[in-house]
């Protein structure tokens, strides 16, 4: 990406009108928003605040309501109930063309009959920007996405990755308060997707515009976003930074959606201990327990378990399956508490792998343990 000083227009700087709100005001605020399609509840009493300048991801499986939420922020759907604010302005009921947001569509939706220049200039022209300013800002926006010189082409003449960048430039050139991205990388192949993830993150740092990004790809969300809302069945299951969500998932759904987790059923047996159903007590931090009592599920990430050692928590078991996956070897270990997945780092070339059927002692510290209410991903 170009980082020259030649195009300051899109760089982080006060907005033209100097009306940038104080940091205390969030750029997007949803208050108890519900969206029903006939009798299907797509979004269920959702409240959300998105801070200015953040890269915010709405993450969830298909049908969880994330795209509907995005479309309500953009104005393409009206909420059945609730209020949507952009900054301090209540925009509920305003059509898309009266909202200070722009969208990068999953299909890019570039206008096939217009040149790249006219595609990017579309928003500026509708707002009646002077001719000279349009030329300058379109040039800057295309520089930003490294597509300078392609102004005269038609969208069909560009590759998928280039079309994606045009869609991004077409939205960013308007300097929106919020940029909405609807699975923008879904149509790209894996390698290009990885590259665009980093570029998008870089561009967001550069322009300091709030990005709201919808995806079902947990890795994509973790790579780019600094805040993630994990959505399920129209509700936010958990909201936090990628590391918070990964290290301290609050529900079985979040634990299962972001990475791999071992969830073992048990009963709280103290203010920092859980007795597993298969016998044996496990130490946890009081923080992780968060005042829970009775039935819970204990969670451990497979890579946090060590084979042997003298950590506080130990679980004995027999290797059922072993598979070599390059950076690590994956074991499925049968323990009295249930099957446990373990990743053993292949950091030493000589590390001997444990054979199927051999006994194994699984060790992990209390801090690596999290607690959720149940092993069921969807309660009830």
């Amino acid at each position: 990406m170009s980082t020259s000083a030649a195009n300051p227009g899109l760089r982080a700087q006060p907005r033209d009108d100097g009306s940038r709100p104080a940091p205390a005001v969030s750029d997007v605020r949803l208050e108890r928003v519900t969206k029903r399609f006939d009798d299907v509840v797509a979004v269920d009493d959702l409240s959300l605040e998105i801070e200015h300048g953040s890269f915010f991801a709405l993450l969830g499986p298909s049908g969880c309501g994330k795209t509907t939420t995005l479309r309500m922020i953009g104005g393409f759907e009206e909420p059945t109930a609730g209020t949507i604010f952009l900054g301090e302005q209540d925009v509920t009921g305003l059509p898309p063309y009266k909202r200070d947001v722009n969208t990068v569509f999953q299909s890019y939706a570039l206008f096939p009959h217009l040149s790249i220049f006219e595609n990017v200039a579309f928003g500026l022209r509708r707002r009646g920007a002077p001719r000279g300013e349009i030329g300058r800002r379109v040039g800057e926006a295309l520089e930003l996405v490294a597509l300078g010189g392609l102004e005269k082409r038609k969208p069909r003449q560009l590759s998928g990755g280039q079309q994606q960048r045009v869609a991004l430039a077409r939205a960013l050139v308007n300097r929106p308060r919020v940029l909405l991205l609807d699975e923008p990388l879904g149509a790209l192949d894996l390698k290009l997707r990885k590259q665009m993830q980093l570029e998008l993150k870089g561009i967001q740092n550069e322009v300091a515009v709030t990005f709201v990004h919808v995806t079902h790809d947990q890795e994509e969300a973790m790579t780019m976003a600094d805040r993630i809302a994990v959505m399920n069945e129209g509700r936010v299951e958990q909201l936090g930074s990628p590391s918070e969500l990964y290290e301290r998932p609050r529900t079985a759904f979040v634990a299962g959606f972001l990475g791999v987790s071992n969830l073992l059923p048990g009963t709280v047996s103290g203010d920092a201990a859980v007795r597993l159903d298969g016998g044996g007590e496990v130490r946890v931090t009081p923080d992780a327990l968060a005042g829970r009592t009775g039935r819970v599920a204990l969670g451990i990430r497979p890579e946090k378990i060590r084979l042997g050692g003298d950590e506080a928590n130990v679980l004995e078991g027999v290797v059922e399956e072993r598979s070599y996956i390059g950076v690590a070897t994956q074991y499925i270990v049968a323990t009295p508490a249930g099957l446990v997945t373990v990743y053993s780092q292949n950091s030493e070339p000589s590390a001997a792998a444990a054979a199927v059927g051999s006994r194994m002692s699984l060790n992990w510290p209390p801090e690596a343990t999290f607690v959720v209410d149940t092993t069921q991903e969807v309660p009830k």
């Binding site: 063309y97 939706a109 707002r127 038609k154 308007n174």
Partner: protein, 284 residues
């Protein structure tokens, strides 16, 4: 050795035989296609050729000698000019109105959900499916019942009615192949619904609208059955030809027919060229 020597020419002969069969097979389709084309185009060629004929009597059926007189004086036959002008007026007006209404109906059917949408979708096919004689006589009954004087207005109404369906079908096909997000993207980029329609929807469906309009124009110029029933004493070009043919077939009819044919072909070629120009080089 001898066996082999005897076999060689034999296999050579059978090979050339197979080649002949392959060649016939290869060209059979071309030949059949050419024959079909000749079958289709020969009548048109005859019409054009006889526009240069100087017939001996009142019927332009046998070739006498070449002349340019008919072309120099294409309206040199009583009432011919009036019927051509009427046909063109009706065609222009009816295709214009039908294209405007048909485009709006197609947009409504493709973009909006409303009560009676399924019924409209079905009913729009009726004028295309119903026999012309049925439609014509129903219209005539309607006009007579309401004592509408037959003439220009009734012909125009009839032509608009049967043209709308064709425009709707053509424009809707164009709309169906379009990404719905394009209109959302325009609105997202601060275009009001009207600006979205003018800047995005209309340019994208323009080829469909143009095709629908041309089709409507051609159908209107061509129509006989419905027009015959609702025209009263007015005569469009097809009605004039029909009436004239009973007493005389002047070569001027061939001249007008040739002009209509050439104009239609020119429009088609122009449309194709326009489409090619819109498709940028290197795109599929």
């Amino acid at each position: 050795m001898t066996v082999a020597a005897e076999r060689l020419p034999l296999s050579g002969r059978s090979r050339s035989g197979a080649r002949l069969v392959a060649r016939i097979r290869h060209h059979a389709l071309t030949a059949a296609a050419l024959a079909a084309l000749v079958f289709l185009l020969l009548p048109i060629a005859v019409v054009i050729a006889f526009s240069f004929n100087d017939p001996a009597g009142r019927f332009n059926f046998t070739w006498e000698r070449f002349t340019l007189d008919n072309w120099a004086n294409p309206f040199g036959f009583p009432d011919l000019q009036g019927s051509v002008v009427l046909s063109l007026e009706i065609a222009a007006l009816s295709s214009l109105v039908a294209t405007a209404l048909g485009t709006l109906i197609a947009l409504a059917l493709a973009r909006h959900r409303f009560r009676g949408r399924a019924a409209t979708n079905l009913l729009i096919f009726l004028p295309m499916a119903a026999p012309e004689i049925v439609m014509g006589s129903s219209l005539l009954a309607l006009f007579l019942n309401y004592s509408v004087p037959l003439g220009f207005t009734t012909i125009l109404i009839a032509h608009i009615m049967f043209n709308i369906s064709f425009v709707v079908v053509t424009v809707r096909a164009r709309l169906a192949g379009q990404d719905m997000h394009l209109e959302e993207a325009a609105m997202d980029l601060f275009a009001s619904p009207w600006a979205t329609f003018l800047r995005v929807t209309l340019p994208l469906i323009a080829p469909g609208i143009l095709a629908g309009g041309l089709l409507a124009f051609a159908l209107s110029v061509d129509d006989f059955v419905i027009t015959y029933l609702v025209s009263g004493s007015d005569q469009t070009f097809p009605l004039f030809v029909w009436g004239a043919a009973r007493v005389a077939v002047p070569p001027q009819i061939n001249v007008i027919g040739t002009i209509i044919f050439v104009a239609a072909v020119a429009l088609m070629v122009a449309n194709v060229l326009w489409q090619l120009r819109r498709t940028p080089k290197g795109a599929q």
